[in-house]
Amino acid sequence: MSVDLPGTGGGVEAAPAAAPAAANGRWAGGRATPGASLRDIRPQRRRVWRDRRNTALILLAVGLTMTPVVMILYQITAKGIATMDWGFLTSSMPFSFRREGGGFFNGLVGTGIMVGIASLVSVPLGVLAAVYLVEYGKKNWLAKLIRFFSDVMTGVPSVFVGLFVYTALVIPFGFGALMGAASLAIIMMPIIVRSTEEMLKLVPQELKDAGYALGAAKWQTVVRVVLPSAAPGITTGVMLAVARAAGETAPLILTALGSYQLTAALWGEPISSLTLAIFDGARNPFAAGQARAWAGALELLIIVLIFTVGARVVASRSRIAR
Protein backbone atom coordinates (compact mmCIF):
# COMPACT_ATOMS: atom_id res chain seq x y z
CA MET A 1 0.00 0.00 0.00
CA SER A 2 1.40 3.40 -0.85
CA VAL A 3 -0.07 5.90 1.51
CA ASP A 4 1.39 9.35 1.19
CA LEU A 5 1.63 11.40 4.33
CA PRO A 6 -1.02 14.08 4.56
CA GLY A 7 0.23 17.40 3.39
CA THR A 8 3.13 15.99 1.42
CA GLY A 9 1.06 13.86 -0.92
CA GLY A 10 0.64 16.38 -3.66
CA GLY A 11 4.07 17.88 -3.26
CA VAL A 12 6.00 14.67 -3.71
CA GLU A 13 4.42 13.67 -6.95
CA ALA A 14 4.03 17.16 -8.30
CA ALA A 15 7.69 18.02 -7.82
CA PRO A 16 9.14 16.54 -11.04
CA ALA A 17 6.26 17.90 -13.07
CA ALA A 18 6.47 21.30 -11.46
CA ALA A 19 10.06 21.93 -12.48
CA PRO A 20 9.49 22.29 -16.23
CA ALA A 21 6.19 24.02 -15.56
CA ALA A 22 7.92 26.61 -13.45
CA ALA A 23 10.43 27.18 -16.22
CA ASN A 24 7.53 28.02 -18.49
CA GLY A 25 6.25 30.44 -15.93
CA ARG A 26 3.23 28.28 -15.05
CA TRP A 27 3.06 27.77 -11.30
CA ALA A 28 0.87 25.14 -9.68
CA GLY A 29 -0.95 27.67 -7.54
CA GLY A 30 -0.60 30.61 -9.93
CA ARG A 31 1.96 33.31 -9.17
CA ALA A 32 1.68 34.92 -5.78
CA THR A 33 -0.44 38.00 -6.50
CA PRO A 34 -0.56 40.66 -3.82
CA GLY A 35 -4.11 41.09 -2.63
CA ALA A 36 -5.33 37.67 -3.80
CA SER A 37 -7.50 36.02 -1.14
CA LEU A 38 -5.63 33.50 0.96
CA ARG A 39 -8.86 31.57 1.39
CA ASP A 40 -9.11 30.90 -2.33
CA ILE A 41 -8.00 27.29 -2.68
CA ARG A 42 -9.11 26.81 -6.28
CA PRO A 43 -5.64 27.04 -7.82
CA GLN A 44 -4.44 24.29 -5.45
CA ARG A 45 -7.51 22.13 -5.56
CA ARG A 46 -5.53 19.07 -6.59
CA ARG A 47 -3.18 19.30 -3.62
CA VAL A 48 -5.96 19.98 -1.15
CA TRP A 49 -7.94 17.05 -2.48
CA ARG A 50 -4.99 14.67 -2.17
CA ASP A 51 -4.32 15.91 1.29
CA ARG A 52 -7.84 15.02 2.35
CA ARG A 53 -7.78 11.65 0.59
CA ASN A 54 -4.53 10.67 2.26
CA THR A 55 -5.70 11.77 5.68
CA ALA A 56 -8.78 9.59 5.21
CA LEU A 57 -6.65 6.61 4.15
CA ILE A 58 -4.50 6.93 7.23
CA LEU A 59 -7.49 7.15 9.53
CA LEU A 60 -8.86 4.03 7.85
CA ALA A 61 -5.59 2.17 8.42
CA VAL A 62 -5.55 3.22 12.07
CA GLY A 63 -9.14 2.02 12.41
CA LEU A 64 -8.37 -1.36 10.84
CA THR A 65 -5.39 -1.85 13.13
CA MET A 66 -7.33 -0.94 16.22
CA THR A 67 -10.36 -3.14 15.46
CA PRO A 68 -8.97 -6.51 16.55
CA VAL A 69 -7.34 -4.99 19.63
CA VAL A 70 -10.58 -3.36 20.71
CA MET A 71 -12.54 -6.56 19.99
CA ILE A 72 -10.15 -8.67 22.04
CA LEU A 73 -10.27 -6.25 24.95
CA TYR A 74 -14.06 -6.11 24.78
CA GLN A 75 -14.52 -9.86 24.49
CA ILE A 76 -12.19 -10.68 27.37
CA THR A 77 -13.67 -8.03 29.64
CA ALA A 78 -17.27 -8.89 28.85
CA LYS A 79 -16.84 -12.65 29.27
CA GLY A 80 -14.31 -12.55 32.08
CA ILE A 81 -16.04 -10.07 34.35
CA ALA A 82 -18.92 -12.50 35.07
CA THR A 83 -16.67 -15.03 36.80
CA MET A 84 -14.15 -12.56 38.16
CA ASP A 85 -14.60 -12.01 41.87
CA TRP A 86 -12.61 -12.18 45.08
CA GLY A 87 -13.18 -15.93 45.31
CA PHE A 88 -11.73 -16.43 41.82
CA LEU A 89 -8.62 -14.43 42.64
CA THR A 90 -7.92 -16.23 45.91
CA SER A 91 -8.87 -19.87 45.35
CA SER A 92 -7.26 -22.58 43.28
CA MET A 93 -8.72 -24.80 40.57
CA PRO A 94 -11.39 -27.38 41.52
CA PHE A 95 -10.50 -30.96 40.72
CA SER A 96 -13.23 -31.30 38.14
CA PHE A 97 -13.71 -28.98 35.17
CA ARG A 98 -17.42 -29.47 35.48
CA ARG A 99 -17.58 -27.87 38.89
CA GLU A 100 -18.17 -24.15 39.15
CA GLY A 101 -16.29 -21.84 41.51
CA GLY A 102 -12.63 -21.99 42.30
CA GLY A 103 -10.08 -19.88 40.53
CA PHE A 104 -6.56 -19.60 39.20
CA PHE A 105 -4.77 -18.65 42.39
CA ASN A 106 -2.37 -21.54 41.82
CA GLY A 107 -1.67 -20.16 38.33
CA LEU A 108 -1.10 -16.67 39.69
CA VAL A 109 1.38 -18.01 42.25
CA GLY A 110 3.14 -20.07 39.58
CA THR A 111 3.42 -17.09 37.23
CA GLY A 112 4.69 -14.96 40.10
CA ILE A 113 7.35 -17.48 41.10
CA MET A 114 8.55 -18.23 37.58
CA VAL A 115 8.53 -14.66 36.28
CA GLY A 116 10.11 -13.54 39.55
CA ILE A 117 12.99 -16.01 39.34
CA ALA A 118 13.41 -15.34 35.62
CA SER A 119 13.66 -11.59 36.35
CA LEU A 120 16.14 -12.10 39.18
CA VAL A 121 18.41 -13.90 36.73
CA SER A 122 17.83 -12.05 33.48
CA VAL A 123 17.70 -8.44 34.71
CA PRO A 124 21.17 -8.27 36.28
CA LEU A 125 22.74 -10.40 33.55
CA GLY A 126 20.99 -8.50 30.76
CA VAL A 127 21.85 -5.07 32.18
CA LEU A 128 25.48 -6.08 32.74
CA ALA A 129 25.73 -7.44 29.21
CA ALA A 130 24.35 -4.15 27.88
CA VAL A 131 26.83 -2.18 30.00
CA TYR A 132 29.57 -4.31 28.51
CA LEU A 133 28.30 -3.66 24.99
CA VAL A 134 28.09 0.11 25.38
CA GLU A 135 30.89 1.00 27.79
CA TYR A 136 33.51 -1.67 27.33
CA GLY A 137 33.10 -3.83 24.26
CA LYS A 138 31.89 -1.26 21.73
CA LYS A 139 32.85 -3.02 18.53
CA ASN A 140 35.08 -5.92 19.53
CA TRP A 141 34.26 -9.49 18.54
CA LEU A 142 32.65 -10.42 21.85
CA ALA A 143 30.31 -7.44 21.68
CA LYS A 144 29.43 -8.31 18.11
CA LEU A 145 28.75 -11.89 19.16
CA ILE A 146 26.50 -10.81 22.05
CA ARG A 147 24.59 -8.44 19.76
CA PHE A 148 24.19 -11.08 17.10
CA PHE A 149 22.88 -13.69 19.52
CA SER A 150 20.50 -11.24 21.20
CA ASP A 151 19.05 -10.41 17.80
CA VAL A 152 18.71 -14.07 16.88
CA MET A 153 17.23 -14.89 20.28
CA THR A 154 14.51 -12.23 20.01
CA GLY A 155 13.40 -13.88 16.78
CA VAL A 156 13.43 -17.49 18.01
CA PRO A 157 9.91 -18.89 18.51
CA SER A 158 9.41 -19.35 22.22
CA VAL A 159 8.43 -23.01 21.81
CA PHE A 160 12.01 -23.72 20.69
CA VAL A 161 13.24 -22.23 23.94
CA GLY A 162 10.86 -24.57 25.73
CA LEU A 163 12.18 -27.55 23.76
CA PHE A 164 15.74 -26.58 24.59
CA VAL A 165 15.04 -26.34 28.31
CA TYR A 166 13.06 -29.59 28.09
CA THR A 167 16.08 -31.46 26.75
CA ALA A 168 18.60 -29.69 28.95
CA LEU A 169 16.77 -29.59 32.30
CA VAL A 170 13.42 -31.37 32.25
CA ILE A 171 14.69 -34.75 31.00
CA PRO A 172 17.31 -35.02 33.75
CA PHE A 173 15.45 -33.23 36.58
CA GLY A 174 11.74 -33.34 35.75
CA PHE A 175 9.13 -30.60 35.38
CA GLY A 176 9.19 -27.70 37.80
CA ALA A 177 9.19 -23.99 38.50
CA LEU A 178 12.93 -23.59 37.98
CA MET A 179 12.70 -25.14 34.52
CA GLY A 180 9.84 -22.80 33.61
CA ALA A 181 11.79 -19.85 35.01
CA ALA A 182 14.83 -20.87 32.96
CA SER A 183 12.86 -20.77 29.73
CA LEU A 184 11.32 -17.39 30.65
CA ALA A 185 14.74 -15.99 31.53
CA ILE A 186 16.07 -17.02 28.13
CA ILE A 187 13.16 -15.22 26.49
CA MET A 188 13.56 -12.07 28.63
CA MET A 189 17.33 -11.74 28.36
CA PRO A 190 17.68 -10.50 24.76
CA ILE A 191 14.82 -8.03 25.22
CA ILE A 192 16.53 -6.58 28.27
CA VAL A 193 19.97 -6.51 26.65
CA ARG A 194 18.85 -4.66 23.56
CA SER A 195 16.50 -2.19 25.27
CA THR A 196 19.08 -1.42 27.97
CA GLU A 197 21.75 -0.99 25.32
CA GLU A 198 19.62 1.61 23.54
CA MET A 199 19.03 3.45 26.80
CA LEU A 200 22.71 3.45 27.77
CA LYS A 201 23.64 4.82 24.36
CA LEU A 202 21.40 7.82 25.07
CA VAL A 203 23.45 8.86 28.11
CA PRO A 204 25.33 11.92 26.83
CA GLN A 205 29.13 11.73 26.69
CA GLU A 206 29.14 15.07 28.52
CA LEU A 207 27.73 13.42 31.64
CA LYS A 208 30.37 10.72 31.55
CA ASP A 209 33.05 13.38 31.01
CA ALA A 210 31.74 15.21 34.07
CA GLY A 211 32.20 12.01 36.08
CA TYR A 212 35.71 11.41 34.79
CA ALA A 213 36.71 15.05 35.35
CA LEU A 214 35.77 14.66 39.03
CA GLY A 215 38.23 11.82 39.37
CA ALA A 216 35.80 8.94 38.94
CA ALA A 217 37.20 5.66 37.67
CA LYS A 218 35.41 3.99 34.80
CA TRP A 219 33.34 1.62 36.93
CA GLN A 220 32.39 4.48 39.25
CA THR A 221 31.21 6.50 36.28
CA VAL A 222 29.21 3.53 35.03
CA VAL A 223 27.64 2.74 38.40
CA ARG A 224 27.05 6.27 39.64
CA VAL A 225 26.44 8.28 36.47
CA VAL A 226 25.52 6.10 33.52
CA LEU A 227 23.19 3.58 35.17
CA PRO A 228 21.25 6.10 37.32
CA SER A 229 20.81 8.39 34.31
CA ALA A 230 19.49 5.52 32.22
CA ALA A 231 17.48 3.93 35.05
CA PRO A 232 14.00 5.04 33.89
CA GLY A 233 14.62 3.72 30.39
CA ILE A 234 16.09 0.47 31.68
CA THR A 235 13.06 0.01 33.93
CA THR A 236 10.77 0.46 30.94
CA GLY A 237 12.56 -2.30 29.02
CA VAL A 238 12.50 -4.60 32.04
CA MET A 239 8.77 -4.08 32.54
CA LEU A 240 8.05 -4.89 28.91
CA ALA A 241 10.16 -8.04 29.22
CA VAL A 242 8.25 -9.03 32.37
CA ALA A 243 4.94 -8.49 30.59
CA ARG A 244 6.15 -10.64 27.71
CA ALA A 245 7.26 -13.43 30.06
CA ALA A 246 4.00 -13.33 32.01
CA GLY A 247 2.13 -13.98 28.76
CA GLU A 248 4.24 -16.93 27.55
CA THR A 249 2.50 -20.29 27.26
CA ALA A 250 4.31 -22.61 24.86
CA PRO A 251 7.66 -22.87 26.68
CA LEU A 252 5.86 -23.45 29.99
CA ILE A 253 3.93 -26.43 28.62
CA LEU A 254 7.29 -28.09 28.04
CA THR A 255 8.92 -27.02 31.29
CA ALA A 256 6.37 -26.30 34.04
CA LEU A 257 3.68 -28.60 32.62
CA GLY A 258 0.89 -27.13 34.74
CA SER A 259 -0.94 -28.33 37.83
CA TYR A 260 -4.37 -28.13 39.43
CA GLN A 261 -2.90 -27.74 42.85
CA LEU A 262 -1.43 -24.79 44.61
CA THR A 263 2.28 -25.55 44.76
CA ALA A 264 5.23 -23.31 45.39
CA ALA A 265 8.02 -25.87 45.11
CA LEU A 266 10.91 -24.76 42.95
CA TRP A 267 11.49 -28.23 41.50
CA GLY A 268 10.36 -31.81 41.85
CA GLU A 269 6.75 -31.25 40.85
CA PRO A 270 4.94 -29.51 37.99
CA ILE A 271 3.63 -26.03 38.66
CA SER A 272 0.79 -24.03 37.13
CA SER A 273 0.85 -20.58 35.56
CA LEU A 274 -1.94 -18.22 34.55
CA THR A 275 -1.34 -18.93 30.89
CA LEU A 276 -1.29 -22.71 31.41
CA ALA A 277 -4.52 -22.51 33.45
CA ILE A 278 -6.19 -20.45 30.72
CA PHE A 279 -5.00 -22.89 28.07
CA ASP A 280 -6.34 -25.78 30.08
CA GLY A 281 -9.69 -24.21 30.82
CA ALA A 282 -10.25 -23.07 27.26
CA ARG A 283 -9.55 -26.53 25.82
CA ASN A 284 -12.13 -28.41 27.87
CA PRO A 285 -15.75 -28.74 26.85
CA PHE A 286 -17.39 -27.67 30.10
CA ALA A 287 -18.90 -24.23 30.60
CA ALA A 288 -17.52 -23.78 34.11
CA GLY A 289 -13.95 -24.45 32.96
CA GLN A 290 -14.34 -22.09 30.02
CA ALA A 291 -15.75 -19.36 32.25
CA ARG A 292 -12.71 -19.67 34.50
CA ALA A 293 -10.46 -19.37 31.45
CA TRP A 294 -12.14 -16.08 30.46
CA ALA A 295 -11.73 -14.71 33.96
CA GLY A 296 -8.11 -15.87 33.97
CA ALA A 297 -7.55 -14.11 30.65
CA LEU A 298 -8.95 -10.91 32.16
CA GLU A 299 -6.69 -11.32 35.18
CA LEU A 300 -3.61 -11.77 32.97
CA LEU A 301 -4.64 -8.88 30.76
CA ILE A 302 -4.82 -6.58 33.77
CA ILE A 303 -1.43 -7.75 35.03
CA VAL A 304 0.20 -7.21 31.64
CA LEU A 305 -1.53 -3.84 31.33
CA ILE A 306 -0.20 -2.75 34.72
CA PHE A 307 3.32 -3.53 33.56
CA THR A 308 3.01 -1.89 30.15
CA VAL A 309 1.32 1.23 31.50
CA GLY A 310 3.87 1.30 34.32
CA ALA A 311 6.60 1.15 31.70
CA ARG A 312 5.08 4.15 29.89
CA VAL A 313 4.76 6.17 33.08
CA VAL A 314 8.36 5.50 34.07
CA ALA A 315 9.55 6.32 30.55
CA SER A 316 7.69 9.63 30.49
CA ARG A 317 9.33 10.59 33.78
CA SER A 318 12.72 10.03 32.21
CA ARG A 319 14.85 13.16 32.43
CA ILE A 320 17.60 11.79 30.27
CA ALA A 321 16.59 13.70 27.13
CA ARG A 322 16.84 17.16 28.59
Binding site: K208, D209, A210, Y212, L214, G215, A216, A217, R224, I320
Partner: protein, 293 residues
Protein backbone atom coordinates in the same frame (compact mmCIF):
# COMPACT_ATOMS: atom_id res chain seq x y z
CA UNK B 1 58.49 24.05 12.94
CA UNK B 2 59.86 26.38 15.57
CA UNK B 3 62.09 28.18 13.07
CA UNK B 4 59.05 28.85 10.95
CA UNK B 5 57.00 30.23 13.81
CA UNK B 6 59.26 31.46 16.54
CA UNK B 7 57.35 31.59 19.75
CA UNK B 8 57.58 34.94 21.37
CA UNK B 9 57.99 34.78 25.11
CA UNK B 10 57.96 37.35 27.84
CA UNK B 11 61.34 38.74 28.80
CA UNK B 12 62.25 38.99 32.43
CA UNK B 13 59.63 36.51 33.53
CA UNK B 14 60.75 34.95 36.74
CA UNK B 15 60.69 31.39 35.49
CA UNK B 16 62.50 29.44 32.82
CA UNK B 17 61.53 30.82 29.48
CA UNK B 18 60.06 28.00 27.39
CA UNK B 19 61.39 29.69 24.27
CA UNK B 20 64.86 29.06 25.50
CA UNK B 21 64.23 25.42 26.27
CA UNK B 22 66.00 23.86 23.36
CA UNK B 23 67.31 21.02 25.42
CA UNK B 24 66.31 20.15 28.93
CA UNK B 25 69.85 20.51 30.28
CA UNK B 26 69.86 24.06 29.11
CA UNK B 27 66.70 24.74 31.10
CA UNK B 28 68.11 23.29 34.27
CA UNK B 29 71.26 25.38 34.06
CA UNK B 30 69.31 28.62 34.24
CA UNK B 31 68.84 30.55 37.46
CA UNK B 32 66.41 28.86 39.83
CA UNK B 33 62.85 30.10 39.38
CA UNK B 34 61.36 32.15 42.15
CA UNK B 35 57.96 30.62 41.54
CA UNK B 36 57.51 27.03 40.46
CA UNK B 37 55.06 26.68 37.58
CA UNK B 38 52.06 24.38 38.16
CA UNK B 39 52.31 23.05 34.66
CA UNK B 40 55.30 22.97 32.35
CA UNK B 41 54.29 21.92 28.88
CA UNK B 42 57.19 20.67 26.80
CA UNK B 43 56.92 20.18 23.05
CA UNK B 44 53.38 18.89 23.29
CA UNK B 45 51.72 17.51 20.18
CA UNK B 46 48.31 15.92 19.89
CA UNK B 47 46.85 14.01 16.99
CA UNK B 48 43.48 12.45 16.37
CA UNK B 49 44.11 9.37 14.30
CA UNK B 50 46.30 10.56 11.44
CA UNK B 51 45.37 14.22 11.82
CA UNK B 52 47.70 16.37 13.87
CA UNK B 53 45.64 18.85 15.88
CA UNK B 54 48.36 20.54 17.89
CA UNK B 55 52.11 20.77 17.32
CA UNK B 56 55.06 21.61 19.54
CA UNK B 57 53.43 23.58 22.34
CA UNK B 58 55.81 24.67 25.09
CA UNK B 59 54.60 26.88 27.90
CA UNK B 60 54.61 27.31 31.67
CA UNK B 61 51.42 27.88 33.64
CA UNK B 62 51.91 29.98 36.76
CA UNK B 63 50.15 29.15 40.01
CA UNK B 64 47.28 31.20 41.43
CA UNK B 65 46.81 32.98 38.12
CA UNK B 66 44.23 32.89 35.41
CA UNK B 67 45.75 31.77 32.13
CA UNK B 68 43.61 32.37 29.08
CA UNK B 69 43.92 30.37 25.86
CA UNK B 70 42.62 32.27 22.86
CA UNK B 71 42.63 31.69 19.14
CA UNK B 72 40.38 31.12 16.16
CA UNK B 73 37.94 28.22 16.03
CA UNK B 74 39.53 24.85 15.41
CA UNK B 75 43.05 25.91 16.35
CA UNK B 76 43.22 23.35 19.13
CA UNK B 77 42.29 25.28 22.27
CA UNK B 78 40.04 22.53 23.61
CA UNK B 79 42.58 19.93 22.57
CA UNK B 80 45.28 21.76 24.55
CA UNK B 81 43.21 22.29 27.70
CA UNK B 82 42.13 18.64 27.72
CA UNK B 83 45.80 17.65 27.88
CA UNK B 84 46.10 19.08 31.38
CA UNK B 85 43.85 16.44 32.95
CA UNK B 86 44.29 13.66 30.39
CA UNK B 87 40.69 13.97 29.17
CA UNK B 88 41.93 13.44 25.60
CA UNK B 89 42.39 9.81 26.46
CA UNK B 90 38.64 9.36 26.46
CA UNK B 91 38.57 10.15 22.74
CA UNK B 92 39.30 7.03 20.69
CA UNK B 93 42.35 7.55 18.51
CA UNK B 94 43.72 10.56 20.35
CA UNK B 95 47.49 10.46 20.76
CA UNK B 96 49.50 12.81 22.97
CA UNK B 97 53.27 13.29 22.57
CA UNK B 98 55.60 15.46 24.59
CA UNK B 99 55.49 16.24 28.25
CA UNK B 100 53.10 17.92 30.62
CA UNK B 101 54.87 18.35 33.94
CA UNK B 102 52.61 18.97 36.91
CA UNK B 103 54.81 20.41 39.67
CA UNK B 104 57.68 18.77 37.88
CA UNK B 105 56.07 15.35 37.43
CA UNK B 106 55.10 14.19 33.96
CA UNK B 107 51.40 13.34 34.03
CA UNK B 108 51.84 11.21 30.91
CA UNK B 109 54.64 9.14 32.42
CA UNK B 110 53.96 5.41 32.61
CA UNK B 111 52.39 4.45 35.91
CA UNK B 112 50.58 7.75 36.36
CA UNK B 113 46.88 7.11 36.90
CA UNK B 114 44.70 9.57 34.97
CA UNK B 115 42.08 9.25 37.71
CA UNK B 116 44.59 10.65 40.21
CA UNK B 117 45.56 13.43 37.80
CA UNK B 118 41.90 14.45 37.52
CA UNK B 119 41.61 14.59 41.30
CA UNK B 120 44.20 17.38 41.21
CA UNK B 121 42.99 19.04 38.05
CA UNK B 122 39.26 19.69 37.88
CA UNK B 123 37.37 20.74 34.78
CA UNK B 124 34.33 22.81 33.86
CA UNK B 125 32.88 22.22 30.41
CA UNK B 126 31.46 24.47 27.74
CA UNK B 127 27.90 23.28 28.18
CA UNK B 128 26.72 23.02 31.78
CA UNK B 129 26.53 19.28 32.46
CA UNK B 130 25.02 18.67 35.90
CA UNK B 131 24.10 15.08 36.66
CA UNK B 132 20.36 14.35 36.56
CA UNK B 133 20.39 14.23 40.35
CA UNK B 134 19.62 16.69 43.13
CA UNK B 135 21.74 19.79 43.64
CA UNK B 136 23.08 18.26 46.84
CA UNK B 137 24.02 14.97 45.18
CA UNK B 138 25.76 16.79 42.35
CA UNK B 139 28.13 18.46 44.82
CA UNK B 140 28.52 15.36 46.96
CA UNK B 141 29.34 13.13 43.97
CA UNK B 142 33.06 13.85 43.81
CA UNK B 143 33.44 13.66 47.56
CA UNK B 144 31.66 10.30 47.72
CA UNK B 145 33.69 8.63 44.99
CA UNK B 146 36.88 9.94 46.55
CA UNK B 147 35.98 8.52 49.94
CA UNK B 148 35.41 11.82 51.75
CA UNK B 149 34.91 11.15 55.46
CA UNK B 150 34.02 14.61 56.72
CA UNK B 151 30.73 16.42 57.16
CA UNK B 152 28.99 16.25 53.78
CA UNK B 153 26.43 18.97 54.54
CA UNK B 154 29.21 21.31 55.46
CA UNK B 155 31.17 20.50 52.29
CA UNK B 156 28.12 21.08 50.10
CA UNK B 157 27.40 24.42 51.72
CA UNK B 158 31.03 25.55 51.54
CA UNK B 159 31.34 24.60 47.87
CA UNK B 160 28.08 26.30 46.93
CA UNK B 161 29.08 29.43 48.84
CA UNK B 162 32.43 29.53 47.07
CA UNK B 163 30.62 29.27 43.75
CA UNK B 164 28.30 32.14 44.78
CA UNK B 165 25.29 29.90 44.41
CA UNK B 166 24.37 29.10 48.00
CA UNK B 167 21.79 31.83 48.54
CA UNK B 168 19.94 30.93 45.39
CA UNK B 169 19.68 27.20 46.06
CA UNK B 170 19.89 26.71 49.83
CA UNK B 171 16.13 26.20 50.04
CA UNK B 172 16.02 23.56 47.32
CA UNK B 173 19.09 21.39 47.74
CA UNK B 174 17.07 18.23 47.22
CA UNK B 175 15.53 19.47 43.96
CA UNK B 176 16.82 18.35 40.59
CA UNK B 177 19.83 20.26 39.34
CA UNK B 178 18.27 20.26 35.88
CA UNK B 179 15.61 22.71 37.09
CA UNK B 180 18.24 25.44 37.54
CA UNK B 181 18.90 28.10 34.90
CA UNK B 182 21.86 27.68 32.56
CA UNK B 183 23.98 30.16 34.51
CA UNK B 184 23.10 28.53 37.81
CA UNK B 185 23.88 25.11 36.36
CA UNK B 186 27.31 26.32 35.28
CA UNK B 187 28.03 27.70 38.73
CA UNK B 188 26.83 24.38 40.13
CA UNK B 189 29.36 22.65 37.89
CA UNK B 190 32.06 24.97 39.22
CA UNK B 191 30.94 24.22 42.78
CA UNK B 192 31.03 20.51 41.96
CA UNK B 193 34.56 20.87 40.61
CA UNK B 194 35.86 22.76 43.67
CA UNK B 195 34.12 20.37 46.08
CA UNK B 196 36.86 17.79 45.44
CA UNK B 197 39.40 20.49 46.35
CA UNK B 198 41.56 20.35 43.26
CA UNK B 199 44.67 22.40 42.68
CA UNK B 200 43.92 23.55 39.16
CA UNK B 201 40.57 24.24 37.48
CA UNK B 202 40.29 23.99 33.71
CA UNK B 203 37.43 25.83 32.05
CA UNK B 204 36.65 25.29 28.39
CA UNK B 205 34.55 28.27 27.32
CA UNK B 206 32.61 28.21 30.59
CA UNK B 207 30.47 31.22 29.72
CA UNK B 208 29.83 30.73 26.03
CA UNK B 209 26.35 29.31 26.64
CA UNK B 210 25.42 32.04 29.10
CA UNK B 211 23.91 35.51 28.92
CA UNK B 212 26.03 38.60 29.76
CA UNK B 213 24.88 38.86 33.36
CA UNK B 214 25.55 35.20 34.09
CA UNK B 215 28.90 35.63 32.33
CA UNK B 216 29.88 38.50 34.60
CA UNK B 217 28.99 36.40 37.63
CA UNK B 218 31.24 33.57 36.41
CA UNK B 219 34.04 36.05 35.74
CA UNK B 220 33.72 37.54 39.22
CA UNK B 221 33.75 34.05 40.61
CA UNK B 222 36.97 33.27 38.77
CA UNK B 223 38.66 36.33 40.31
CA UNK B 224 37.48 35.05 43.65
CA UNK B 225 38.75 31.52 43.02
CA UNK B 226 42.19 32.45 41.79
CA UNK B 227 43.28 33.19 45.34
CA UNK B 228 43.23 29.44 45.96
CA UNK B 229 43.37 27.81 42.57
CA UNK B 230 45.28 28.03 39.35
CA UNK B 231 42.79 28.52 36.56
CA UNK B 232 43.20 27.83 32.86
CA UNK B 233 40.37 29.11 30.70
CA UNK B 234 39.64 28.74 27.00
CA UNK B 235 37.66 31.59 25.56
CA UNK B 236 36.53 32.86 22.21
CA UNK B 237 35.82 36.20 23.71
CA UNK B 238 38.84 38.48 23.64
CA UNK B 239 37.26 41.04 25.95
CA UNK B 240 36.76 38.25 28.44
CA UNK B 241 40.39 37.15 28.16
CA UNK B 242 41.52 40.76 28.60
CA UNK B 243 39.19 41.27 31.57
CA UNK B 244 39.87 38.18 33.60
CA UNK B 245 43.23 36.68 32.77
CA UNK B 246 46.75 37.38 33.97
CA UNK B 247 48.46 35.55 31.16
CA UNK B 248 47.31 34.82 27.65
CA UNK B 249 48.32 32.15 25.20
CA UNK B 250 47.47 32.76 21.55
CA UNK B 251 47.03 29.68 19.40
CA UNK B 252 46.77 29.81 15.67
CA UNK B 253 46.14 27.36 12.85
CA UNK B 254 49.04 26.60 10.55
CA UNK B 255 48.27 25.20 7.14
CA UNK B 256 50.54 23.03 5.05
CA UNK B 257 49.84 24.33 1.54
CA UNK B 258 50.97 21.09 -0.11
CA UNK B 259 48.72 18.69 1.80
CA UNK B 260 46.25 21.26 3.17
CA UNK B 261 46.78 19.65 6.55
CA UNK B 262 46.02 22.01 9.45
CA UNK B 263 47.29 22.04 12.98
CA UNK B 264 47.42 24.45 15.88
CA UNK B 265 50.58 26.07 17.17
CA UNK B 266 51.29 28.34 20.11
CA UNK B 267 52.15 31.68 18.55
CA UNK B 268 52.59 33.91 21.54
CA UNK B 269 52.37 33.60 25.28
CA UNK B 270 52.81 36.27 27.90
CA UNK B 271 51.21 38.76 30.27
CA UNK B 272 47.69 39.53 29.13
CA UNK B 273 48.22 43.29 29.13
CA UNK B 274 51.27 42.97 26.93
CA UNK B 275 49.63 40.51 24.51
CA UNK B 276 46.73 42.88 23.97
CA UNK B 277 48.65 46.16 23.89
CA UNK B 278 51.95 45.29 22.24
CA UNK B 279 51.83 41.88 20.63
CA UNK B 280 55.11 40.84 19.09
CA UNK B 281 53.76 38.54 16.43
CA UNK B 282 51.88 39.92 13.44
CA UNK B 283 49.25 37.17 13.70
CA UNK B 284 48.57 37.95 17.35
CA UNK B 285 48.24 41.61 16.50
CA UNK B 286 45.79 40.87 13.72
CA UNK B 287 43.77 38.56 15.93
CA UNK B 288 43.52 40.73 19.03
CA UNK B 289 42.72 43.78 16.94
CA UNK B 290 39.86 41.82 15.40
CA UNK B 291 41.26 41.68 11.90
CA UNK B 292 40.41 37.99 11.65
CA UNK B 293 39.23 35.06 13.73
Amino acid sequence: MSEKSPMVQEEGVDMPSPAAVVSRDDAQSRRPPVEQPVFSVRDLSVSYGKNVALKGVTMDIRPRRITAIIGPSGCGKSTLIRCFNRMNELIPGAQVDGQVLYHGEDIYAPGVDPVVVRRHVGMVFQRPNPFPKSIYDNIAFGAKINGYKGDMDELVERSLRRAALWDEVKAKLKKSALDLSGGQQQRLCIARAIAVEPDVILMDEPASALDPIATVRIEDLMQELKRDYSIIIVTHNMQQAARVSDETAFLYTEVDEATSARWGILVEFGKTGRIFTSPRDKRTEDYVSGRFG
